[in-house]
């Protein structure tokens, strides 16, 4: 097919005029995208190999990475941010995505009344900015206002209330759960759509075989929406390893208390831009951005070449 077309292209119309309009159509997007996105990305990767030596930008090879991974001033912060980022991601995978699947499964029950209302309401937090979400939850969890202790009192758990955002042991979990609250709408919607796309015949065939209810969900529906779950996971991964706004809003640039909520995004901001007594460092900023790029690239490649190809897709 393709060879037939190309031979027709080359032999059938030998002297085709230059098709300038293709260039005109492509050029604006290509220029803006390359100039503002791709070139800066490449330049950032390049900068990570340079550092200022005696006031001059010098090629230092992988020295910046050695400093970031091993130097005592940098390594502790970096490894902590990396670890926190993985915990942040793990909480999303363990809470947000199962919750999203459960909500989607309930919403997709045929002829469920009020489904449109539930769907719209539950998705609402997703469209709010991190700033709004961060501050609202800061107020609600604040011991001064007392909303949370009041509710915990209602169910007799008041003794367990604590200033979660202010304690190093619980702050990261609390911030992650706020983020889950905000973003659960995305897995819910994507999996909901996948569930609605399962043809009725498949479900009816399952029912004829006596597979209903729970076992139908586990044995029929869940395997059929696995590609959607894979996509949700990679979206969560990219979003989490590039997160910044929520933690900056709730805990500030220092990602307190005591750096316990510091993730790669906030570390990049502080390093590159400087904060309070710390001066901004362009090379180290670029180095951290490069590490983030490599992590995201590794995740995306694993998804595209490892998971997405292996997940069995069913053609209906």
């Amino acid at each position: 097919m393709s060879s037939a077309i190309s031979s027709e292209d080359t032999i059938g119309i030998p002297a085709r005029p230059k098709r300038w309009h293709i260039l005109v159509f492509l050029l604006p997007a290509f220029i803006v995208y390359s100039a503002v996105m791709i070139l800066p990305l490449i330049e950032t990767l390049r900068l990570s190999l340079f550092n200022t030596v005696d006031g001059q930008s010098t090629f230092v090879g992988l020295h910046n990475f050695q400093v970031l991974f091993g130097d005592e001033r940098w390594a502790a912060d970096f490894w902590r941010a990396l670890k926190n980022n993985f915990i942040f991601f793990a909480i999303h995978m363990l809470v947000q995505n199962p919750l999203g699947i459960a909500l989607a499964a309930m919403l997709s029950i045929p002829k469920l009344r009020l489904a449109a209302f539930y769907r719209t309401a539950i998705f609402m937090p997703t469209i709010l900015s991190f700033v709004i979400v961060g501050f609202i939850w800061k107020l609600i969890l604040s011991p001064i206002w007392g909303i949370t202790p009041f509710f915990m009192d209602l169910v007799g758990l008041k003794a367990f209330f604590g200033p979660w955002l202010g304690k190093p042991g619980s702050a990261l979990i609390a911030v992650s759960l706020i983020s889950v609250w905000q973003n659960v709408g995305i897995p819910m919607m994507l999996i909901y759509a996948a569930l609605l796309n399962i043809p009725d015949e498949v479900i009816e065939a399952a029912e004829c075989d006596g597979i209903t209810g729970w076992s139908q969900f586990w044995k029929i529906k869940l395997p059929l929406v696995l590609p959607a779950i894979g996509m949700v996971s990679i979206l969560t991964f990219v979003g989490n390893f590039n997160a910044f706004d929520l933690i900056y809003t709730v805990q500030g640039a220092l990602a307190g208390p005591d750096g316990s909520t510091d993730i790669l995004g906030t570390l990049l901001y502080r390093t590159f831009f400087g904060f309070q007594l710390q001066l901004g460092d362009r090379s180290m900023g670029a180095t951290i951005a490069t590490v983030m790029f490599l992590i995201i690239l590794a995740g995306v490649s694993l998804y595209l070449f490892g998971i997405q190809r292996r997940v069995r897709r069913y053609q209906f």
Binding site: P28, I127, L128, W145, L196
Partner: protein, 279 residues
Amino acid sequence: MSKARISPLRSSFVHLALAGYTVVALFPVVLTILNSLKDKNAIFRTPLQPPTAETFSLIGYTTVLKQGDFIGYFQNSLIVTVISIFFALLFGAMAAFALSEYRFRGNTLMGLYLAIGIMIPIRLGTVAILQGMVATGLVNTLTALILVYTAQGLPLAIFILSEFMRTVSDDLKNAGRIDGLSEYAIFFRLVLPLVRPAMATVAVFTMIPIWNDLWFPLILAPGEATKTVTLGSQVFIGQFVTNWNAVLAALSLAIFPVLILYVIFSRQLIRGITAGAVK
């Protein structure tokens, strides 16, 4: 489809669970808006009650509107969002048309190149973006933000729009060519009107992250004259941490426009995310 598959008992469990989570999703926002309309005593004494005649007060709103230039912030956000969406849609549609309509060398490669940005976030290039903006004197201008957001919106716009443009009938375009329309006229007069629904979906998708972004306004345009609503409320609320009336009012002011747009466009948005599975 119409068989009664679900027992009344299970159905009420499902409603209980969904309604419960709906309350969890809505409660914080409702609480904020309700309390922003009350006086300080009532905020702390009876936080869960709606404002009554006695406790009603707009003190927070008057403080906010007096102190911060919220109208200016809104204007900035609006300008940045509208212009970025316009260019992302226009350039994106043009590129999508080129990729889906013509066969030329490097077509697939160009498609892949333009798709990198779907997965790799533009934030990772911030160090060099700031450098470039400093070099061109664009720091603290809305132009810097518009450029960045246009680039950020392009990959997804191109991806979605080229899928839709493949569905436009070839016969129609060829009829246009026989009638002597130029390729540009075919694009602007025949194809663009036909993919309008897809353009609306892309616009809604592109809008939310631009309107809500904190990172680039913070780094590229933190000046008072160019603050967006997201950055403006972040800075403002940070200054007024102890004035609860002002904080709640500022939050409500930031929520209202988004909420109103959401109520109007939620169907469009949800249909876009679910790729038409939800009617």
